[in-house]
Amino acid sequence: MKKNLFLSLFAVMFLAAGSTQAAVDAAKAEAFVKNVTTEGIEQIINANVSQQVKDERFAKLFNQALDLDFIGQFVLGRNWRTATPEQRKAFIKVYRELNIKTWSQRFDEFKGKNFIFAGTTPSNSKNQIFVNSTVPMDQGEPAKVVWRVKQTADGFKIVDIIIENVSLAITARNEYSSFIKNNPGGVDALIKDLQAKVNQPVAKK
């Protein structure tokens, strides 16, 4: 009984200490994500400009807000270490293109919707924090969107987006490592397949 009391006291102290030592400024991280989503909605989704201008703006915002070099390395996982510099470069390039393409389509789904921010959660990873948000849907429960934000020398960067418990980065990492494992062509075959995905026509809506 006494032991439990001590344990819980200890836990409380530990938690309190942890939160005061947080390296990342939670309010600023949240403000950063808020800015990115507001800019996306106002300047892109709701803007009265051609699709081409929208695509350009989206690519710019995406490249600014996300650290795709970092995400790409993580996504390639253990295969990153064995990849040649050319493979690494080609992979990051095609991964960036594919993400810009898929996310500009997905982003369209947010037309008429908005993000409601719900504070932050600390991360065990250095200089990182989770920014929590929800998106009210036309039907049913609101969708849960969590942003993993990293503080870099160059300001805040988004390094993962977790939608309804499913992480973009972990999903891609598992998918690609599975592909490489099952494919004799390895990383080169992956790059080729991803390039084919980039080249395929945009799905009609």
């Binding site: 970092f70 990182q128 598992n174 494992k181 991803l194």
Partner: protein, 256 residues
Amino acid sequence: MLKKILTSSALAAIMLLTASCATNPSETSEFDQFDRFETFNRAMFKFNYQFDKYLAKPVAKGYRAITTPFIRERINNAISNLLEPMSAVNQVLQGEFKQSGVTVGRFAVNSTLGLVGTFDVAGAWGWKKEISGFDSTLAKWCVPDGPYIVLPLLGPSTPRAAFSLAVDAYMQPIYWAARNDANTRDKILWASSALVYVAVREGTLDLTDDLERNSVDYYATMRTAYLQNRAKKNTCINSDAGNVNYDFDFGIEEDE
């Protein structure tokens, strides 16, 4: 007997799409270690994919074409309403007595004032819906999940989730209402299972199309999405809540 279980399982299966829970797969980001039966699973996935491509998906699209969002919402509400008794029982098993009371109240109000559950009147009063199947009860009791398995027609699962499906099937009002006459019971169960299958498939059309279009290994994508979701919904008292299951060291590849 088996047929009975399978039929009603199909009905309850839907629940697992929304109410599944899991023991903690891992703090790492690799999920393929849970796929001991990958060869079998890939074959079953392929079979399900063909079934979906030529039957389930076209039917779901047809259903979307002949209904309006308003009608679909009514149907989804009615389906969800029939899961409330199951939720109430499981909430008691999980010690959530207060929520169980709310669930019973929701079922009573929505089945009557809500016109057989098509309108969520109780929800508008602030009586919060919480769907809970036997799988979330087992998760709370810290029963291990077992390896990843792909079930025929029902898709991604685990032994615990599959077992829970059969248990949930016995908690469906439709099953009890029809239990006295074997002949009509089978018809009712098959028809309702088929309707639920189509309604759920319709709800996931856009999502699965998006995932498939952007995947180089669709099987692996579905597997990791399913397992991530289960890991996160785990409520076992021994595991950590929160963001922990994707809070691995994200910078590990950085300094080599």
